[in-house]
């Protein structure tokens, strides 16, 4: 098993603690004048996203986590698992709902997602920054009202609800920013 010494610690390094994969957020070297050196480390649990602090004796080693990211194409949701494919190797991966989390509302088949894999199993799925999707439900559009600031909720085919301008009609295809859950434009508009 690969190991990392505390002097290799830096932000982004993936390690195993108590059997779970963690990513180092922040590493501080602490040494009292004549005394033992320590590393005080903020780590994020990659399963729960919780950030905790841990202390290590400087020079100690921890197990490296086999964690890496791949661009995978979303295929379909079978009700239980979300299925993805590596477009280069055609290898398929199935992600549990916990790994997909909120991203579920922001992806549709064929979208490419940034997927974090741990020991080959999807741990976290990040939706692409922009989603192009059809409006399946919204109040009727207000004709001619293309400039005033009013908005209304619209439900997209992926299940996400975003605030859209009043002139948007059901059936239109929109471009939305998935990070802010915000309407950007009609698809095709520039």
């Amino acid at each position: 098993m690969a190991q990392y010494s505390t002097n290799q610690f830096k932000g982004g390094l993936k390690i195993i603690l108590d059997g779970d994969p963690y990513s180092i957020v922040e590493n501080e070297f602490v040494k009292p004048g004549k005394g033992q050196a320590f590393n005080r480390v903020k780590v994020r649990n990659l399963k729960t996203n919780r950030v905790v602090e841990r202390t290590f004796k400087s020079g100690d080693s921890v197990e490296a986590a086999d964690v890496f990211n791949l661009d995978l194409q979303f295929l379909y949701h079978d009700g239980e698992f979300y299925h993805f494919m590596d477009p280069n190797s055609f290898e398929q991966y199935q992600a549990a709902e916990a790994a997909v989390g909120d991203a579920a509302k922001w992806i549709k088949p064929e979208d490419k997602c940034d997927v974090t894999l741990w020991n080959g199993v999807p741990l976290q799925v990040d939706a692409p920054n922009f989603l192009v999707a059809k409006v399946i439900e919204t109040d009727p559009g207000v004709r001619g009202n293309t400039s005033s600031g009013g908005t209304k909720p619209a439900t997209l085919e992926t299940g996400a609800v975003v605030q859209v301008p009043l002139f948007i009609e059901q059936g239109e295809v929109l471009r939305v920013d998935t990070r802010k859950a915000e309407y950007v434009s009609r698809a095709g508009d520039s």
Binding site: F29, K31, P32, G33, K34, A37, F38, T55
Partner: protein, 302 residues
């Protein structure tokens, strides 16, 4: 910042000259390394070690010169790299004959005033600040009590069950006590525990403590000083004890510095010494957020 550093170095040399302390342009490459449990020296192939402080060289010269002296230059410590650590750093270290711990603190105060510290240093005892921050009496708390407090604070390493008393004192000092020290200006903490004292005289009134102090400013350790041990047999015993601690920790164990012990046998004059971290002082004076902002070629980007 380069010019600010030059001005600080000049001011430090001036205050030393004003106090009639002689500058020693000593070697930083040494054939010996000090025996201290938590001090890892950088080894130079087929040559020896880069000094972690000029202490041994200055003490050997003190035996001959019998006058106050200092060295201002670069020192090296293996593995010390972080926001407030650089493996190569600048240290001012001086020794003054016949000085008590109070005298040494006075000199430090004069140096810090000259450098531009916001106020005179204040002094408190280690046992007092330790009790204030942790509620523990360091005179009576045993290893288990120290460990229990560290665990309750969530600062204990997962695998530190085998830590000894010094280990837990270091941990609590670093995480619970130190951040509270010197918030509005330099603060000197005197009478550190004797447990890991090496070339330092113990407190004759209470040998559980050493005549050693550290100076903190904004929670950052700035200086370390002590009344120096003159008893050569004690020195050898403590060096052997430190070697054993290093061996137990799986650290490299350099041989004992026999040249220093030889000089001490000839007679080290009674004296007190202080080592001041110049880069940290510059950072604190200028409001820098990290050492790398005040060091011309900070590790590892150099």
């Amino acid at each position: 910042m380069i010019a600010r550093r030059a001005a600080l170095l000049a001011a430090l040399r001036q205050v030393m000259a004003d106090l009639d302390v002689l500058e020693i342009d000593g070697a930083v490459l040494s054939a010996a390394a000090p025996a201290e449990r938590a001090l890892d020296c950088l080894a130079v192939v087929e040559a020896g070690w880069l000094v972690p402080s000029p202490e041994h060289g200055l003490k050997r010269l003190l035996v001959e010169l019998r006058r106050d002296c200092y060295q201002l230059g670069h020192v090296f410590r293996a593995g010390e790299h972080g926001r407030w650590h650089n493996p190569e750093f600048t240290m001012l270290e001086w020794y003054r004959l016949g000085a008590s711990m109070a005298d040494a603190v006075d000199t430090l105060d004069a140096v810090l005033q000259e450098a531009g510290a916001p106020r005179r240093v204040r002094c408190r005892r280690y046992a007092d600040v330790f009790a204030e921050a942790t509620g523990l009496d360091v005179r009576t708390a045993d290893t288990e009590a120290l460990a229990a407090h560290a665990r309750a604070q969530g600062i204990a390493p997962a695998d530190a069950d085998a830590g000894d008393r010094v280990f837990w004192l270091d941990l609590l000092m670093a995480f619970c006590v130190q951040p509270t020290l010197g918030r509005d200006g330099p603060e000197v903490i005197t009478h550190f525990p004797a447990d890991d004292a090496v070339l330092v005289e113990l407190d004759p009134h209470d040998p559980r403590f050493a005549q050693r102090f550290e100076c903190f400013w904004q929670g950052i350790e700035l200086a370390n000083g002590a009344v120096e041990l003159t008893d050569v047999e004690q020195a050898r015993k403590r060096m052997v004890r430190e070697q054993q601690a290093r061996r137990a920790a799986g650290s490299a164990v350099p041989p004992i510095d026999e040249r220093l012990l030889q000089a001490m046998t000839a007679g080290l004059p009674r004296c007190a010494g202080v080592a001041l971290g110049v880069d940290r002082l510059l950072a604190l004076l200028t409001g820098a957020e990290q050492l790398a902002d005040v060091v011309p070629f900070a590790w590892p980007a150099r």
